[in-house]
Amino acid sequence: MQSNQTFADVFKARGVSRRDFLKFCSLTSVYLGLSPSMVPSIVEAMDKKPRTPVIWIHGLECTCCSESFIRSSHPTIENLLFNMISLDYDDVLSAAAGHQLEDVRKKIMKEYKGKYILAVEGNASTKDDGVYCMVGGDSFLNILKETAADAAAVVAWGACASFGCVQNAEPNPTGAAPIHEIIKDKPIINVPGCPPISEVMTGVITHFHTFGTLPELDRFGRPKAFYNTRIHDKCYRRAFFDAGMFVRSFDDEATRKGWCLYKMGCKGPTTYNSCSKIQWNGGTSFPIGSGHPCIGCSEPNFWDRGPFYKRLAEVPFLGSDSNADKIGMVAVGAAAAGAAAHAAVTAAKKVKPGSENNDKA
C-alpha cells in the first residue's frame, strides 16, 4: 500500500461505492457534532489529503481499547476502518512481528517526521526505569518518549493512557503514569473510557485528519464533542430519577421496570461521556441500558472513587466503612459531647466562686 494514498483511493480499491463513501462522510460529521455544511470539507479531506499515518503503541493495558476500536459500526466493515486511519504500526494487530515491525515504526517516524499521530493505548510504568513494561527489548517508557518526540499529536486511548486506570490505582506498585505526565511538549488528546466508545475513537482521528487541528478539548483534555455532557443528562432513565423512582436492590420490582440506578451507585451524574447518546456496539445498548449502574470509567481515577455499588465514596484513609455522612455525624456528635462537657465544667466552676461571693436565690 502506498503511503500517499488518500482515503478515497483506499475506499475505491476496496470496492466501496462513491455513494457509500459519501454516506460515511455524512455519518462522521454527525458524530463529530458538525453542521451539515461541513460535510463537503470532510469529503474533500478524505478525497484529496493523503492519509495521516498513525503509530499505535501498547503499554500497560488490557487491549480493550483495540477491542472496542475494531467494533466501530459506522462504517460497518471493520476492514475499512483499518485502512481509513492508515494504521501503519500496531504491535497487536500487525501481521509482521519482531525487527520487521520495529523497522516500520522507525521508517514512519523518519518519513513522516512531525506529521504522524501517535496513538497510545495503555500507560507506562515509571518506577525502576520502567522495567515493569518491556516491549521489543526496551522499556515502554523509552519507546513512548522516543516515538512521541516526532509526533504531530498524541492520542491517549482509554482510561489508562488518559488518567492511569487500574494500574495506577492505589497503591500503584509499578509507578504507572498517564501519558500527559510523561509527554509534556506535545498536544495530547485524552480519550478516556474503559474502553472508549469505538465511534468516539474513529471520530477523534477523523477530526484531526479533516481539519488538521485537535478537536476542542475540555478541562481534562477530552474532546468536547464527545465528553461535554454527563451520562445522566442524556440518560433515558432520567425521568425515573426526577420522579424519585429508584432501584433499591438488584432483584426488586423496580429493576424489572428499569427505574433509575442512582441508589445503586450509578456514577452517571458525575461522568462525562457519550454512552447514553451514541451507545455501544452500533447503538445496541450501554451499561445503564442493560441494568447496570455506570461505574464512571471515563473519569479520573475511577477505581479509587469508592465502591461501584454505593452512592457515597468511602474515605480512603479512614478504612472501608467510613463515608461523608458517618464522618459528619461523628464530628457533630463530638461537638455536642464537647459542649455538654464544657457546660458541666462551667456549672461546676460556678459553684466554687459562687459559694464565697454571692448566693443568688
Partner: protein
C-alpha cells in the same frame, strides 16, 4: 436579676435579617442536600412523567442556594461598606500577630477554664470572630463555589461552567467534588451546635441577653447584684 444599667444597640436590622435568612437557608440546604444524596421516600405510583419526587428536592436546593448566595454577598457588602461598628471586618486581622495577642489569648483561656473572669465584648469576641471566619466565611465560600461549579455541569459551556468549572479538575473530578461538597456540608451542623452552646453559655455566665439580641438587636449590661 439585677437592674439593667445600659442598653446597647449591637445588631442592626440588616445584620439580624442576614442572620435569620442565613440560618433558615442553611437548614433547608442541609436537609435537601442530604435528601438528594440519599433519597429515602418511597417511589410514587404511576407514570414517572407525572411525578417530580426527586426534582422537587433538587429544585428547592438550588432555589434556596441562590437566596443563600445573595444573602452571603449582601453580608459581605455590609461588612465592607455598611459602616456598622459591630458587623464590619475592621477589627478582624488574623494576618497580624498582634491580633492573636492578649485579647485572643485571654478569651481562649477563659473558654479553657484557665482564668476566673470572663472577658466581655459587646460585639464578637476574637475567638468567635475566628470561628465565624472559618465556618461561615470559608465554609460558605467553598460551598457556594463548589455548588455553582456542579450546578453548571449540565451545561459546561455555559455561564456557571465557565466561571466556576475550574473547581472540578481542582478537586480531581466531578465525583470527588460532589463528595467534598457533601463532606463540607457537615461543618454547618457542627458549627450550629458550637454556636448555640456558646450563645447560651455567654447569656447564662455574662447575662448580656445575647440570645435575644439577635431578635431585638439589643444587648444589656446588668447591675451586679448586692450580696
Amino acid at each position: 436579676m439585677g437592674r439593667i444599667i445600659e442598653e446597647i444597640y449591637v445588631w442592626r436590622l440588616p445584620v439580624r435579617l442576614y442572620h435569620w435568612i442565613n440560618a433558615l437557608c442553611t437548614v433547608a440546604l442541609l436537609v435537601t442536600g442530604l435528601y438528594i444524596a440519599a433519597p429515602l421516600f418511597s417511589p410514587p405510583l404511576g407514570e414517572a412523567a407525572l411525578h417530580k419526587g426527586m426534582a422537587w428536592w433538587r429544585y428547592v436546593h438550588f432555589a434556596v442556594a441562590f437566596i443563600f448566595i445573595a444573602n452571603f454577598l449582601f453580608r459581605m457588602y455590609w461588612a465592607l461598606f455598611g459602616n456598622d461598628k459591630y458587623a464590619r471586618f475592621g477589627g478582624f486581622r488574623p494576618w497580624s500577630p498582634s491580633w492573636w495577642g492578649k485579647p485572643f489569648r485571654e478569651q481562649m483561656e477563659s473558654y479553657l477554664f484557665l482564668r476566673q473572669d470572663e472577658p466581655n465584648y459587646v460585639g464578637h469576641n476574637p475567638v468567635a470572630a475566628l470561628a465565624h471566619f472559618i465556618f461561615i466565611f470559608c465554609g460558605s465560600s467553598f460551598m457556594i463555589l463548589s455548588g455553582l461549579a456542579m450546578y453548571g455541569e449540565n451545561n459546561p459551556s455555559g455561564f456557571n461552567g465557565h466561571l466556576f468549572g475550574w473547581m472540578i479538575p481542582m478537586f480531581g473530578g466531578s465525583y470527588t467534588l460532589h463528595f467534598v461538597h457533601h463532606l463540607m456540608a457537615w461543618i454547618f451542623p457542627f458549627y450550629f451546635i458550637m454556636h448555640i452552646y456558646a450563645v447560651l453559655r455567654h447569656d447564662v455566665v455574662d447575662r448580656t441577653s445575647v440570645t435575644s439580641s439577635i431578635i431585638t438587636g439589643f444587648k444589656h449590661k446588668v447591675e451586679e447584684e448586692p450580696v
